[in-house]
Symmetry: C2
Subunit: 223 residues, 2 copies
């Protein structure tokens, strides 16, 4: 009998071509489904996430819906799953959900964080976690730019191939640039931009970050 | 005129198939030589390291010998080189060496560090830096095992395809297991094994580490 599960997955996206399964390249979904097939012994394993992370993007707690053709004992299977997953993917929660469980409806908000540092300061050990950005940067202006995104706005200009009749208004609950001193990974300091909303359009977060950096580099002015 | 240079290279080996250039796969040497060709404009770029790191192994300060067909201005070229290298490879030193400079003779010792933690405690963010080892481990026995390697010993059993007439004695200057609390990367604690010598045979360090872990797991007894 078809059975639904909820999983919480953590992964380091560095070295993966994003979440979604694609032919020829290593993806998180492809790796997770392959190991799930091995561990459950089921041939048909279908996973669905509420969002698709791009290449290199990591996840701290990503909810994933899993559908199997018949029930399995998740309690004994969870440690086995983690034993067989590569060390940069961990499943921290795996439980049976109701038959009507729908990941797309049950995720209320998503938060993305983007960490960057001046390029010269980023050592190789920070590479999986921090982007290098060419300076000098006017970070006060970047903070002001980030704050402008908060609230209800039409993000049509931040979408990718948006159909003219698409709904492009989004409510941004948080859009904030913060400075961290001694964050680890051999970095003395870094900036972190966090953005939170019930949903984003494809490429929206990436283009918002691009605008904030362009502001800091003086290529874009605040209206 | 053929000119020799010394480089100090730092890199994160996670995601690379080791140092040495190989067809089809991404290696540190292949990436470095490609960017050096682009930045110097020279077609012939030859690099040589005193040792070859395996897939996944990182380097904190690896000396590399570079031979170009004619001199370049390293001072202006060094920042350009780092701008074009991927963020997980950095060159922190690049200077002209004498015409007789030989990296194989000028490196006096090498030090390898191997960091591990109990598999359950390793989160995905630690994956590029820390190996997960299946416990329980008798770490006191591992410390004793590590200490046995110090000094002058015949390491024939720790070599790979060793010819019968090869010199297999090595002087190990340091062989030590240490415990670190709160080392960063989201890890509460980890063990680090460090080993230092003028030279190692192929696979020697890997096999020494394997023995120490086998000791901790009770699969190997101290003589």
């Amino acid at each position: 009998m078809e059975t639904r599960y909820e999983l919480i997955v953590e992964y380091l996206g560095y070295g993966y071509h994003g979440w979604q399964t694609q032919p020829q390249v290593k993806t998180v979904q492809g790796t997770l489904e392959r190991v799930l097939r091995y561990v459950t012994g089921h041939e048909r394993v279908r996973t669905l996430a509420a969002g698709r992370t791009d290449a290199g993007v990591s996840a701290d707690a990503m909810p994933v819906q899993l559908i199997l053709d018949s029930p399995v004992d998740t309690e004994t299977m969870l440690p086995k799953l983690n034993d067989h997953l590569p060390t940069d993917i961990r499943v921290i929660f795996w439980e049976k959900a109701s038959g009507s469980f729908n990941i797309l409806e049950s995720v209320e908000w998503k938060m993305y964080s983007y960490r960057f540092s001046l390029k010269k300061l980023v050592g190789p050990r920070a590479a999986p976690f921090v982007a290098g950005v060419a300076g000098p940067l006017d970070t006060q202006r970047m903070e002001a730019c980030a704050a402008l995104f908060e609230g209800n706005h039409d993000f049509r200009a931040y979408g990718y191939q948006v159909p003219s009749d698409a709904e492009t208004e989004r409510m941004i609950r948080l859009s904030k640039l913060e400075y961290h001193i001694a964050p680890g990974n051999g970095l003395p300091r870094l900036w972190e931009y966090s953005v939170m909303s019930a949903g984003f359009m494809r490429h929206q977060v990436r283009l918002m970050v691009g605008s904030i950096i362009a502001c800091g580099q003086g290529q874009l002015k605040l209206a």
